[in-house]
Symmetry: C2
Subunit: 346 residues, 2 copies
């Protein structure tokens, strides 16, 4: 584990709780000492023989830390940065797979570290055509073991999506809070009136700002596009209000309500699963393609395994998916030239 | 109780739990029947001798329902609408005091009604210079008994403040959800990536839209001003991001973080209280002035009582406030010509 902050500490704790031996480093020696004392890590340092190295450092420092890990170890390397494009552009290795566990805490650093932080969370991975299949399957198994749901996406797509569901909402929460704060100088009563809805909407603005400039600059174009869409949407709302346009306002609000109701629920493991077996040529990139197709189709992958045939030239990719999504997935797989065999479990 | 929806039902349940006899009406006979069956009310109809009548109908119907209640009863009348200007403009009676309990639920109608909905909530009242003092003291006692904190504000100020902390945040949550929804048509994976922060920010968009057009139109000018401030703030954020202006971005986020940390905590009754006794001439409007001053100064009123002297021409207003705000409050009272006597309890 390179970097022993909130996320690095939580992954370390989660892995140790599941029987792994974890070695870790951090630029801050005090933090390393704390991590040892609190049994977040078993030992200090980078092991050249480590099976997997997680890079959990601030977004600007990720690429060089990943390169160092690739040089100094023989195993799989992954990171946890919330912007993926720049890392993927800087590092090209079959042993590196970009990652982004989408969970956090209002607490900071090791104090907030929690072995169960990723239970029910989405953990994005960004394989490429050159990604080693066995490495991707291994990472998928670890992510699943930590209780998270793996979603495979292209780096560029990941960055566009997190701009909409994470980065722009964060800047919006901060802006709502700023607008209220500036009014509060005139009206001391203002903040007493902030009820639950306002508290919910501004909660993420209470986080430490230090990580955000780098995220904003690394993901600049997607964030600016997201802000533009939000500003345009608010201007449409404003027009509906000023025009006393009841129907339009109801349409906007109803669209939002239905979309909110359709947000996939968290932490619910599907109970009716089917096994999808897909014969794949034993060459790199096929698992990445299949898992990214699953993400595109909204098919949740509960488990991923690669079984190699005795002959060695072909393998079988075995996926567990929700039964009610199997026909959709079958259609997508057939369209891409795969021949899936699907059987319902039990 | 006129109107047996979420708020009317909750107040009825709260009052009955505290020993009141509650009669109620609603335009919908099914709802009246349900309210009787679920023991939300004791009996049906409007009692001419009722001590207090609550009007809990949709915002557009409030003024006429208040006028009817004033005609048909001799007691105090109050309402719960989330916009106060239009009601106050339409009704002028010493027996009417505008009100707005700032609590809600994701549930709707009687199904969401809860006797403890107002525990720890702010309950705004909007007295005027002609408001009857005894009525205001009585309403304050009831609000306090329901577990809420009374905050007295001018109607116009209330409307400006709720635009910032409630109405504009609601429209923003809906707009964030719409923006994500429109992207989700292209990217099925989008909504799987929505983590806790996005869920928190869009939760209020899951409410039923029907009440919102009236709120938006009744409070149009304040909402448009709030939307303009938000759009301007988002444009500033956008500029800081496009200019890679780290210092500016950090300033915005730090301002938001500090303001969020300063949000008054909810449901915490101050433990160290002082009693403020203020001799007042026995004429209307003084309690309104003193309680609105408290709201302006951010002084939380834990209890309000009016003691009349035996001679009858003067009274004493007795307030309980947090001890650490007493000097601030004393200064404001002296500046307005009052002569408060303050003593710490215990």
């Amino acid at each position: 584990m390179i970097g022993l902050g909130l996320v690095g500490g939580s992954i370390s704790l989660g892995l140790r709780a599941r029987g792994w031996h974890v070695q870790g480093t951090d630029l801050d020696p005090t933090r390393v000492e704390q991590a040892l004392q609190r049994k977040v890590i078993d030992a200090v340092g980078l092991d050249p023989a480590s099976e997997i190295t997680f890079v959990a450092v601030p977004v600007r420092a990720v690429a060089s830390a990943v390169e160092e890990a690739l040089r100094r170890t023989d195993g799989l390397v992954t990171d946890v940065a919330s912007v993926k494009g720049p890392v993927l552009a800087a590092v090209d290795s079959p042993r590196f797979i970009g990652g982004h566990p989408m969970a956090g805490s209002e607490l900071e650093g090791l104090d907030g570290a929690d072995a169960d932080m990723f239970t029910g969370a989405v953990w994005v991975v960004t394989p490429t055509a050159t990604t080693d299949d066995a490495s991707l399957a291994r990472l998928a198994a670890i992510v699943s073991d930590l209780g998270a749901e793996m979603v495979a996406l292209e780096a560029e797509r990941h960055d566009a999506l997190v701009a909409v569901v994470s980065h722009v909402p964060h800047l919006t929460a901060a802006t709502l809070m700023r607008v209220a704060d500036e009014r509060a100088n005139e009206h001391a009563a203002l903040l007493r009136l902030a009820a639950g809805g306002f508290r919910d909407m501004t909660r993420i603005a209470s986080g430490h700002p230090a990580i955000w400039p780098d995220i904003c600059f690394e993901n600049k174009s997607a964030i600016v596009a997201g802000l533009d869409a939000l500003i345009a949407g608010l201007s449409e709302m404003r027009t509906a209000v000023t025009d006393t346009n009841r129907d339009q306002l109801l349409r906007y609000l109803e669209q939002a309500r239905q979309a909110r109701a359709n947000l996939p629920s968290r932490g619910v493991r599907p109970e009716i699963l089917s096994e999808v077996r897909i014969p794949i040529p034993d060459r790199p990139g096929m698992i990445a393609e299949v898992t990214m197709l699953a993400a595109e189709l909204g098919v949740n992958l509960s488990d991923i395994e690669v079984a190699h045939s005795a002959e060695g030239d072909r393998g079988v990719l075995i996926l567990l998916v929700e039964t009610d999504r199997t026909e959709l997935f079958r259609g997508g797989l057939l369209a891409r030239g795969y021949r899936p065999a699907i059987s319902r479990l039990q």
